[in-house]
């Protein structure tokens, strides 16, 4: 209840009653209340002029790491008898050590410094203001001011280290990498046998073939390994990722971070396309800088409603036909047409699909109705995955109760042998 309002009501009531009954003792009761109000008015804080400076021990963090926030506030105005300072921490961050608030007296020119630790979940956070509430000692008059500060924090998704991800796009770039290029040359894997040419190493001579053909010498040819274009497409649709308060989206983000890191470490050219509340592109690139760009982008994105996924457009100038696309999506039935259309356009598709049925079932009560419903949806999903595989799309069904490393080791490290016709 507003304290001034309580005092005002009390004063007016006593005033009316005291004068109506002509009782000086009742009117006298008002005086301490009036004095209280008067003192509050006299000592009410003037304009609040506080300079706030913030420094962070790091602007980029991995999920689970802590950052030290230091605040230095200096009073540039008149004395403030009681100031409550509260750093405005966005949702998703939590204080782990120290406190984000202080209750202090700040004399003119005085300052207060303090530090505290924060950690939080993946995201981009702007730490842009400290709220100052100045009061006199009685707390009747108060002034609330937002003090602007600089500060931003990127909490990046954790990056799992995968040994390798075996992909076989039909189109590779000219730079060397570790993607089999279906062309003979220097490499590791055996590719072909051809006639000896001057300059070939004697160690490559295929003695068995040479013994059969006395006229010629034959050498082994190895499959060239080159870098490839890899487009990561992250599905951020609300309807496919959110199940009440629970979201499967973080699993997709984690998988995308791990795959991006692995592909970039192998020398590939990687880009990221995110379909969420808005469509955002991280243009393809190589190396550590690109890895940072992608991680920054992954730290910022949140699921949202979009219809764009139904018209998924992959620009050909960035990802030419026959290059590799990796889609991270829980998948819904309508996605079949979109993914097969991409396949028909010549892209080599790998779909990492966190299993939404297992994820949602884990959060539901175990009742016969729920279990039956879960079974039906599971069958529908199994059929969808089967149809996708039948269309030549490599689909990895990921039960999120298992770690991604395990799934990746089992399903992504081995080179996939395509049956005749390229259909799985």
């Amino acid at each position: 209840m507003n304290r001034i309002f309580v005092l005002a009501v009390l004063i007016f009531l006593l005033f009316i009653v005291g004068f109506a009954a002509i009782r000086p003792a009742v009117v006298a009761l008002i005086l301490p209340l009036l004095l209280y109000l008067l003192v509050g008015l006299i000592y009410s804080p003037d304009e609040v002029k506080i300079r706030a400076e913030r420094s962070l021990s790091a602007e980029r963090l991995k999920t689970g790491d802590e950052v030290l926030v230091s605040l230095d506030l200096t009073n540039l105005g008149s004395t403030l008898e009681e100031v409550y300072l509260e750093d405005q921490i966005p949702d998703g961050l939590e204080v782990t050590q120290g406190s984000s608030r202080r209750l202090v007296a700040l004399p003119a020119g005085g300052s207060v410094k303090w530090t505290y630790s924060l950690k939080g979940r993946r995201g981009y956070y702007g730490l842009r203001k400290v709220q100052a509430t100045a009061r006199e000692h009685l707390g009747l008059a108060e002034r609330v001011v937002d003090l602007a500060t600089d500060g931003q924090l990127f909490i990046l998704p954790s990056v799992l280290r995968l040994r390798r991800v075996a992909i076989q796009p039909r189109r590779t770039r000219i730079f060397s990498g570790n993607i089999p290029a279906k062309q003979g040359g220097s490499g590791v894997e055996f590719f072909n046998v051809r006639e000896y040419q001057p300059g070939d190493s004697p160690r490559w001579i295929n003695w068995r073939a040479t013994a059969r053909h006395v006229q010629n010498i034959y050498t082994n040819e190895f499959e060239q390994e080159r870098a490839a274009d890899v487009g990561l497409i992250l599905d951020g649709r609300q309807r496919t990722n959110m199940f009440g308060d629970r979201s499967i989206f973080e699993h997709s983000v984690m998988a995308a971070a791990a795959m991006a890191d692995t592909f970039l470490n192998a020398g590939n050219r990687v880009g990221l396309l995110f379909y969420g509340r808005q469509v955002t592109w991280t243009a393809p690139g190589y190396g550590k800088i690109q890895s940072e760009r992608i991680l920054h982008e992954l730290s910022k994105i949140t699921p949202g409603d979009t219809l764009n996924f139904n018209e998924l457009y992959v620009p050909r100038h960035l990802f030419p036909s026959r290059s590799q696309l990796v889609v991270f999506s829980p998948l819904v039935q309508e996605d079949f047409d979109i993914l097969t259309a991409l396949r028909l356009r010549g892209y080599h598709l790998l779909v990492i699909s966190p299993d939404p049925v297992a994820f949602e079932s884990a959060g539901m009560a175990r009742t016969p109705v729920n279990e039956q419903a879960s079974r039906i949806v599971h069958i529908q999903r199994a059929l969808l995955l089967r149809r996708l595989r039948g269309s030549g799309i490599h689909v990895v069904n990921w039960d999120t109760s298992q770690p991604f490393e395990k799934i990746a080791k089992r399903e992504l490290e081995q080179r996939l042998v395509l049956p005749r016709g390229g259909v799985l």
Partner: protein
Amino acid sequence: MTRLLKFIFPILSTGFLAWGSFANGLPWVGMGVICFGILWIVGLALAWKWIPSTGLVIGYGVAAWALLQIPTSGPGSNLPSGASTVSGQTNPGITETVFLLGALFALVSWDLSEFQFRLVLASKDDNIHALEQKHLLRLFSIFVGGGILCIVVLNLHIKSSFEWTMLLIIFAIWGISRMVAWLQKEN
């Protein structure tokens, strides 16, 4: 310190109000005040946000109502001597003083409870002791100043005409309204 004082002052407030009520033949009021006092203490222990304001309103309400019910201190009062009239002139009696103290302690208790709610927000690095000292000093000065003002007003006998009294009332209402409005605007 504030934590302790915020429990002491409701006891003092209800104690004085109950004493005054019993001494002036208002036992049911006294019993009611004691019952509310218990509720007040429980409410403070459980940090009910509404209890300090309710305590203030009830403390002042009971004091005002009791002062209206009883005749001016003197022969009708059971309180110890020192009240009553001196050479035919009415002086502030013990009855008024007791109820006045009860109301004043209610005001102090209200203030300390609200201050305690603010102190809860402080971090462990804050110099709470210094803040408490300054707060209590100011509260004490209001308590003493308010008490002295009350005694002065009760002793003061000014004869004025009806017109002047009405003018004074209107001026007082206007002044209080302005003060309240200004404070509200500040917030």
